[in-house]
C-alpha cells in the first residue's frame, strides 16, 4: 500500500501543482468539453407549434439530444449557434432524424410560438430541431439547472449540451465549435 502511495503521490502532487490538463488546450481545440450531471426541473415548456411538452420527455428519449439557449432577436451568439445546428442537420443528411436538436429561449416574453416558428423557418430547420419557450420562472429554472443562468440576454455566451440516451451524463461544450468538431462530438455519443 505504501509502495503504491509512493508511486502515485508524486503524480498527485504534480497534478495539484500544475492543475488538471485543460481538455481544450490538450486537444488544440478552441472550446471546452466537460462531462456533467444535471438535475433538470419538472417543468412544461411550449414548442414552436404551441404544444406543451414536459422537459423530461424532451430530453429522455432514445436519441442523442443537443440543447442550446438562444433567442429570436439575438444579434451575435445565437446566429452562430443556429448556423451550427442547421449545418449539423445538413451534414447528417439521412441521419438527421437520429439526433434531436433543442433550442430553449432565454427571452420567453418575446419568443412566442409564432416568433419561434419564423426563426426556424428562416434557418431552414428540418424536422428534429425544436425551439421551446415557457414562463420566465420555468425558463430561469431550466437555465439554472444547466448551470447556464443568463440574467441579461445581452451577456449571453455560447454553450451547448449533448445528452447520450439513457445516460445520467451530459457533455457540456463551452465555446463555438467548427462544423467538423460539432459532428464529431455528436457522433461520440452514438448515432
Amino acid at each position: 500500500m505504501n509502495r503504491l502511495l509512493r508511486l502515485i503521490l508524486p503524480i498527485l502532487l504534480l497534478t495539484v501543482c500544475y492543475g488538471l490538463p485543460d481538455p481544450a488546450a490538450a486537444a488544440g481545440k478552441t472550446y471546452q468539453r466537460t462531462q456533467e450531471q444535471y438535475q433538470l426541473p419538472d417543468v412544461t415548456l411550449i414548442n414552436q407549434n404551441g404544444k406543451r411538452v414536459r422537459l423530461k420527455s424532451i430530453v429522455d428519449t432514445n436519441k442523442p439530444v443537443v440543447v442550446d439557449f438562444i433567442f429570436g432577436t439575438c444579434t451575435t451568439i445565437c446566429p452562430v449557434l443556429s448556423a451550427g445546428f442547421i449545418n449539423l442537420q445538413n451534414r447528417l443528411g439521412a441521419d438527421t432524424q437520429k439526433v434531436q436538436l433543442v433550442s430553449i429561449t432565454i427571452d420567453p416574453e418575446n419568443d412566442t410560438p409564432k416568433v419561434m416558428q419564423e426563426y426556424l423557418k428562416r434557418y431552414r430547420a428540418k424536422p428534429g430541431w425544436d425551439f421551446y419557450t415557457g414562463s420566465r420562472k420555468d425558463i430561469d429554472l431550466v437555465m439554472r439547472s444547466f448551470g447556464a443562468y443568463i440574467p441579461n440576454k445581452m451577456s449571453h455566451y455560447a454553450i451547448t449540451f449533448i445528452h447520450q440516451p439513457k445516460s445520467p451524463h451530459w457533455i457540456r461544450l463551452y465555446g463555438i465549435l467548427s462544423s467538423s468538431e460539432f459532428l464529431e462530438e455528436v457522433r461520440k455519443v452514438g448515432i
Partner: protein
C-alpha cells in the same frame, strides 16, 4: 481530413481575397459601378448590409469558425454590427463599429478618443498612438474576404469570411463609407432638439400630465450650468467639457383637426425645426399617422402615451410601451386556447363596438386566434358606436349563438348593459378589457364576477406601490400633477429610456444608434407595466398582460388567473 479540407478552404478564401484586392487596386471603383447611380449603390449596399443579398439578388455567403457555412439572409452584417453600424457587445463577443467614420479613421483606446475629442473641441491636436490604422478600400476588402484586420490580426472566428466579387465588394464598401457618417438632424454644437406631440382631443389635464416629466428633464439638464461653478464638480466638467453636453430643447407639436391632416402639420413643424427624436406624446386616437410620419422621416419616437399603437413586425422608428388594446385581445385568444376544453365544443362570440378601441381589441384577438390554430368557432357581431347593444340585445345574442365564451369589446358604454346580465341561465364566460374599464371595475356586480375575466395589462395594484413612488421623487415634487391615468408615469418611463439610450450613444448622434442602444438595454422595472424588456428590433417593451377576476366586496382585489405572459 476534415480539418485539412477546412484549412484548404480558408487558404482558398485568403487567396481569393488577395486576388480580389489586387484586382480592386487595378480597377477603379468607378469602372465597376459605372452603370449604377449613387442612389442605386446605396440601395444595393443597404440591402446587402441589412438583408444579406448581393446585387444580383442571391445570398451573400461565407464561413464562420473555419468551416461552418453561413447565409447572410439569416445572419446579416446588421445582425451583429447593428443597423446603424456602431456595433454591439454580446457576452464575450464584441462586434466593433463598421460605420464610415470609425472604419476609415485610426482607432484609439477609448480614453485617448475622449481626450482627443475634447482637445479637438478646443481647437488643439493631441498626439496619441492608434491601436488600429484607418482602413483603406484594399484592407477592408481583405478583412471581409479573409478575416484579417488592418493591423494584420485575425478576426474572431464568429466573423464570417465572405465570398463576394469585386463589384459587390465596392457596393458594400461604398455603403459602409456613408453609413452613420453624418450626424442626424436636430443636433447642433450646443443643443439637442427634441419634440413631443399632443393632439387636440387630449384634455388640458392630460396634456399637463404628459408634459411634466419632459419639463423636469429640461430643468434638470439646465442645472449643470450652475453645477459646473461648484468646486466639487469642476474637475468633472473640465474633463468632459461641452463636447459631451448639450442643452435640451423639447418643442410641443400640437396637432389639430382630423387625423388625415396630421402628416402635413408634422411636416410643417419638422421643416421649421428638425428634431433628433420625438419623446413620448399623447393622443386618444390611433397613433398611425404619427407612426407613419416617423417611418417616412426616419425619426425615433420613444414610448408615446397611446393605447392604439401600430402593430408591425417590420417598422423601425416608433418604440411603444406595449401593444395597447391589441395586446389585450391577443392575450384573451391565447388564454382561451390554453384551456383544456374541447375545441369542437368551444363557441366564441365576439361583440365589437366599432370604436378604435373595439377594433384594436378584436384585431388582436383575431390575429392571435389564427396563430394558435383557430381552436374553436368564432362569431363576430359588430355595432356602431352610436348604437351599442343594450342588455336585451346581449341576452338575445347569447340565446342565438349559445356561446361558451363572450368577448365584449365596447368599453364603458357597455358597462350598464353588462351589469344587467345577472340571472342569465347558462351564463357564458365574459371577457372584458381592463384598460378600457379600469376605473369602473368595482361597479361590476358580485353575482357576475365568477363569470367575468378581465385582461389587465398593468402590474397588479398591490405590487405597484413600490414603483409609482420613484417617478414622483424624480419629478422632485415640483410639478404636482394628478396622474390617475398613468400619463405622467408612462412619460417618466419614456424619459428614463431616452436617458439610458443617450448615455450609451455618447457622441454618436445617429438616430438609428439611439434605437439600437435602447433596444439592447436590460429589463427595466418602471411604473405601470410589470416589466419593460428589449431586444434588437423589438418595438413593444411590455410583453405581458394578466387575466384577472374580481374578488368580493366594494373594493375587490384583482385575482390573477394567468401568468404575466400567456402562451
Amino acid at each position: 481530413m476534415r480539418r485539412l479540407t477546412a484549412t484548404i478552404w480558408l487558404l482558398f478564401l485568403m487567396l481569393m481575397g488577395t486576388a480580389s484586392v489586387l484586382s480592386a487596386a487595378d480597377t477603379k471603383p468607378a469602372d465597376l459601378l459605372a452603370d449604377l447611380t449613387p442612389a442605386d449603390i446605396h440601395r444595393l449596399g443597404e440591402r446587402m448590409y441589412r438583408q444579406g443579398l448581393l446585387s444580383d439578388g442571391t445570398p451573400l455567403r461565407g464561413f464562420i469558425r473555419g468551416d461552418v457555412p453561413v447565409d447572410s439572409t439569416v445572419f446579416s452584417c446588421a445582425n451583429c454590427h447593428t443597423r446603424s453600424g456602431l456595433g454591439a457587445i454580446e457576452g464575450q463577443v464584441a462586434a466593433p463599429p463598421v460605420n464610415g467614420p470609425n472604419l476609415f479613421k485610426p482607432r484609439y483606446l477609448y480614453a485617448d478618443f475622449v481626450k482627443n475629442t475634447i482637445s479637438a473641441s478646443r481647437g488643439k491636436t493631441r498626439p496619441a498612438t492608434a491601436i488600429r490604422p484607418a482602413y483603406t478600400d484594399e484592407t477592408l476588402a481583405a478583412a471581409l474576404l479573409a478575416g484579417v484586420s488592418a493591423t494584420g490580426r485575425d478576426f474572431l472566428p464568429v466573423m464570417p469570411r465572405y465570398n463576394m466579387g469585386d463589384r459587390d465588394m465596392q457596393i458594400l464598401i461604398s455603403y459602409l463609407k456613408n453609413l452613420s457618417a453624418q450626424v442626424s438632424p436636430g443636433i447642433t454644437d450646443t443643443t439637442m432638439h427634441l419634440a413631443t406631440i399632443v393632439t387636440d382631443d387630449v384634455s388640458a389635464t392630460d396634456r399637463a400630465a404628459m408634459l411634466a416629466p419632459l419639463e423636469t428633464l429640461v430643468h434638470i439638464n439646465e442645472q449643470r450650468k450652475t453645477q459646473r461653478q461648484d468646486q466639487r464638480f469642476a474637475k468633472m466638467f473640465r474633463m468632459l467639457d461641452n463636447a459631451y453636453y448639450r442643452d435640451l430643447s423639447i418643442s410641443t407639436w400640437e396637432l389639430k383637426g382630423p387625423a388625415h391632416t396630421w402628416a402635413a402639420q408634422l411636416e410643417a413643424y419638422y421643416q421649421k425645426e428638425p428634431v433628433f427624436a420625438i419623446v413620448s406624446g399623447i393622443s386618444n386616437q390611433s397613433w398611425q399617422p404619427i407612426h407613419d410620419f416617423c417611418e417616412k422621416r426616419q425619426i425615433p419616437n420613444l414610448f408615446p402615451v397611446t393605447d392604439l399603437p401600430v402593430i408591425s413586425s417590420e417598422d423601425w422608428y416608433t418604440m411603444y410601451a406595449s401593444k395597447g388594446y391589441h395586446g389585450e385581445g391577443e392575450t384573451v385568444a391565447r388564454y382561451i386556447a390554453s384551456h383544456d376544453d374541447s375545441t369542437a365544443k368551444r363557441i366564441i362570440l365576439q361583440i365589437v363596438v366599432q370604436s378604435e378601441q373595439g377594433k384594436a381589441l378584436a384585431a388582436g384577438f383575431d390575429a392571435a386566434w389564427k396563430d394558435v390554430g383557430n381552436p374553436g368557432s368564432v362569431k363576430t357581431v359588430t355595432f356602431q358606436t352610436a348604437a351599442v347593444p343594450d342588455a336585451k340585445q346581449l341576452k338575445a345574442l347569447f340565446a342565438t349563438h349559445k356561446p361558451t365564451d363572450v368577448l365584449i369589446w365596447g368599453g364603458e358604454p357597455l358597462l350598464n348593459p353588462i351589469k344587467q346580465l345577472s340571472g342569465v341561465k347558462k351564463m357564458p364566460r365574459l371577457y372584458l378589457s381592463g384598460r378600457a374599464l379600469e376605473k369602473k371595475l368595482n361597479d361590476l356586480p358580485e353575482t357576475l364576477r365568477e363569470k367575468i375575466f378581465i385582461t389587465y395589462p398593468f402590474r397588479l395594484p398591490e405590487d405597484e406601490k413600490a414603483y409609482r413612488g420613484f417617478a414622483d421623487v424624480l419629478l422632485m415634487s415640483k410639478q404636482k400633477v394628478k396622474d390617475d391615468k398613468r400619463i405622467t408615469s408612462r412619460t417618466f418611463s419614456a424619459v428614463h429610456m431616452l436617458l439610458l439610450g443617450l448615455k450609451e450613444i455618447k457622441l454618436d448622434f445617429y438616430r438609428d444608434t439611439l434605437l439600437d442602444q435602447v433596444s439592447m438595454r436590460t429589463d427595466q422595472y418602471l411604473p405601470d407595466f410589470e416589466r419593460y424588456s428589449f431586444g434588437p428590433g423589438q418595438r413593444y417593451a411590455s410583453k405581458g398582460c394578466y387575466v384577472v377576476q374580481l374578488g368580493s366586496g366594494s373594493k375587490p382585489r384583482l385575482v390573477k388567473r394567468s401568468d404575466w405572459v400567456v402562451f
